[in-house]
Amino acid sequence: MKKILILFAHPRYEISRANRALLEPLHDLEQVTIHDLYEQYPSFNINSAREQQLLLAHQIIVWQFPFYMYSAPSMIKQWIDLVLEHGWAHGAGTRALENRTIFATVTTGGSRESYAPDGFNRHTMGEFLVPFQQTALLCGMHYLPPFLVQGTYRLTDPQLARFVDQYRDLLIRLSQAPPTPGELSGMERLYDLSAPLPPTPHD
């Protein structure tokens, strides 16, 4: 069973509906570690050594955050800058996170339709998340498409509950068998991965 680290960043978690709902049912999964960055580092003084130890102890990494001004909250950027440092995660020296799986779980206020070339935001979520994708590639990690919960202001409770179930199922499945790159080609959102995963030979 692969261990999953959720690097969660929400500066106002106490008022977040969608992210709270997504995280709530994960607390009893023993393979999932929820690491609340704003709770751990209220003054942004990230302890890189500790974060790197934590990364090494997990095989699947998730950035989970609400989408602010077309990017992640500043804590995620601070974390990427400090923790995925040159000489450790990339560049000369070892690629400590090579072959690990990583993806982003993102909640957006705007609807799925508004993130399209002809939509209000003029670009797809895949395009907005290119810096995260490239960061993962730089570190030699497998980057999966994002898990998106969109139009959060208008989500009804049953709709949100469907996302919550899907998220939990997805994490459980990933911890049992991560998908192969072939399965992911052309996929825009991770929850389209609806077919059951074939068992991988080396497991």
Partner: protein, 619 residues
């Protein structure tokens, strides 16, 4: 042996010490223990105390007076006002219905309507002392049964005044004057006596506001604890005396004084000063009740007496059940409420002797009612025990008693001990974030000032556990010890850990040595004076010297984190040195060790990510 006050004291104390632990061991509560002790040493059993029982009674009633003072203290006027509906509604209902339900059968038994009515009123009284003590021991004071009982008892205590005033009108033959207990107003016309009641109540209010509080301020400034206790006793004795002079219930006067002082800063101090006296005197009161049971009457016609007790209990319980039903008590609560209040109370002793002196009731009947009263009081704890063991498990709805929100809000989750600049800053910060704290301090000038600035501050020696308890330490979650004196801090924490394991302790420490002592006590949240302020000043120094403020601030945060780790790491090692090393040398050694560790760490400190030097090699 029992001659003289010393012999008497030995008898009373020994009986109490013997019976109360025994009663508690069998699960009966201390009230029953005291009552049994009274029966044991009374004229019927061992005969150590005979007719002196009556003298003791007068003295022991003081326990009831003190209890009402304490009830008053715990009752903030706002809370009292919220309960007004229950007090007036439930109280009136209980007295009127019980009086009628008693008077009717009595008049059928051949009592004149006057004596039936007077006896009915007296029998409608319940025992404040027994009920509140028993409820408290069973932890029922916050339940609906508890608050309902409190309301009824309070109303009865208040109602005693008009009842005492009106009883003379029932007297036949006009021999009213010599019946009044009043000594000061004896022989004066009725309207003066009536208006004296008003004058006395207003007098207590004025006295409380303009004499007692300033007087207490002067006394507490001397910081002699005995004086504070003496002052507290003087207040109660004085008010009781004043009330007696005008023929009012001393208990009511004490209650009034308590309510008046409830909003003053001395509330917690007074509470804990009087508490031990109250307990002992109440015990004495219960012993006296036990001793005053007339077993002669019991032997003459036991069946008749017990039938009467049973009838009285049954009638009162039925009336209370009906009243509880009207006020929508659940079955569990109503059964506790009705059985709890079904006895005849201590005011009945006062009323019956008054009725007797007025000539409304003849002596044999008065004696009989007195015996009924005493026996019914003795039976109360037993009744509640039976209810708890036999009735509730079978018929109870077992519903969880929800605590009423207005009672929670008076107990804050945070207690701050010591309202110095540390405590006050903390208090202001918490308040700015919507968290109210109970604040205790023993500097009455400071307390007064802060109260005028709108803070909820209580005067009290914070190192005393009883004060902490009255400040709600049993329900609170966090105790912040902000006291200036290190040895006081340690004593307090040691005791608090034993008495209130529910409290998370957060403590302020003067320096590293104090912090180590706190670590030895297993305190995990330690705040050393000036650590944060000094480091913040350090950031300003570095910035003024030309360093980047962001780097300096991050370094400051690292320093604090590291310093706190080092404090924990170094704590066990400080005992290695021989004990003759003075504190100063120890201090210097520790500082050097810290500084050495810091140098070590700063040398190793690196910031790869934002540091270009690691990337200078071409890929």
């Amino acid at each position: 042996m029992t001659d003289g006050i010393l012999g008497q004291a030995i008898v009373y104390l020994a009986a109490a010490l013997l019976c109360v632990p025994l009663a508690k061991r069998i699960g009966m509560g201390s009230v029953l223990g005291y009552l049994l002790a009274g029966v044991l040493i009374g004229p019927f059993c061992l005969g150590f105390i005979g007719h002196e029982g009556e003298d003791i009674m007068h003295f022991a009633e003081f326990g009831v007076v003190m209890m009402l003072f304490l009830i008053g203290l715990e009752l903030e006027p706002a809370h009292f006002w919220r309960m007004r509906g229950t007090i007036l509604g439930l109280g009136t209902l209980q007295i009127v219905l019980t009086t009628l339900a008693m008077a009717l059968p009595l008049s059928l038994l051949g009592f004149s309507w006057q004596s039936a009515l007077a006896s009915g009123v007296a029998l409608s009284m319940s025992s404040t002392a027994i009920v509140l003590q028993t409820m408290k021991e069973k932890g029922l004071t916050q339940t609906r049964a508890g608050t309902g009982a409190f309301a009824v008892l309070l109303f009865q205590d208040i109602a005693v005044i008009p009842i005492l005033a009106l009883l003379p009108f029932l007297a036949m033959g006009g021999s009213t004057a010599d019946g009044m207990e009043s000594t000061l107003l004896q022989g004066l016309p009725g309207w003066i006596r009536a208006s004296s009641v008003l004058v006395a109540v207003v007098g207590v209010i004025i006295l409380g506001r303009y004499v007692i509080v300033p007087f207490l301020r002067i006394i507490t400034r001397t910081s002699v604890r005995e004086l504070c206790i003496a002052a507290a006793l003087l207040i109660i004795v004085g008010i009781a005396f004043l009330m007696k002079q005008v023929g009012l219930s001393p208990a009511l006067g004490a209650f009034l004084a308590g309510v008046l002082l409830a909003n003053s800063e001395f509330r917690h101090e007074l509470e804990s000063d009087i508490e031990p006296f109250k307990g002992l005197l109440l015990g004495l009161f219960f012993i006296a009740v036990g001793a005053s049971i007339n077993f002669g009457l019991l032997l003459d016609d036991p069946a008749r007496l017990f039938l009467m007790v049973l009838a009285v209990l049954l009638i009162k319980a039925c009336v209370l059940l009906a009243a509880g039903k009207i006020f929508r008590f659940s079955f569990d609560q109503n059964s506790i409420f009705a059985l709890g209040l079904s006895q005849v109370g201590e005011f009945a002793f006062v009323l019956f002797s008054f009725i007797n002196r007025l000539g409304i009731l003849d002596s044999p009947r008065t004696d009989l009612f007195m015996a009924v009263t005493a026996i019914s009081m003795t039976l109360t704890p037993l009744l509640l025990l039976l209810n708890e063991r036999l009735v509730l498990p079978r018929f109870g709805t077992l519903e969880q008693e929800r605590r009423q929100p207005d009672q929670i809000e008076s107990v804050h989750q945070v207690i701050i001990a010591g309202f110095n600049s540390f405590g006050s800053t903390l208090g202001r910060f918490l308040r700015a974030n919507g968290v109210e704290a109970t604040i205790l301090d023993n500097d009455s000038d400071q307390v007064d000032l802060l109260r005028r600035m709108g803070f909820k501050v209580f005067y009290g020696d914070v190192s005393r556990l009883d004060i902490l308890r009255s400040a709600g330490a049993e329900q609170a979650r966090i105790l912040v010890v902000a006291i200036d004196n290190p040895s006081m801090t340690l004593d307090l924490i040691e005791n608090v850990k034993k008495q209130f394991p529910n409290l998370t302790i957060m403590a302020r420490a003067g320096n590293n040595l104090d912090a180590h002592e706190l670590l030895d006590l297993d305190v995990r949240h330690i705040y050393r004076d000036f650590l944060d302020t000094a480091v913040r000043a350090g950031v300003d120094v570095l910035a003024a010297l030309g360093q980047r403020r962001f780097s300096a601030t991050r370094s400051a945060q690292d320093f604090i984190r590291y310093d706190e780790d080092a404090m924990v790491r170094l704590a066990p090692h400080r005992h290695d040195q021989s004990s003759y090393i003075s504190n100063t040398r120890e201090q210097i050694r520790l500082q050097e060790q810290l500084l050495a560790n810091d140098r070590e760490r700063n040398r190793l400190r690196h910031d790869h990510a934002w540091d270009n030097t690691s990337r200078e090699m071409p890929d």
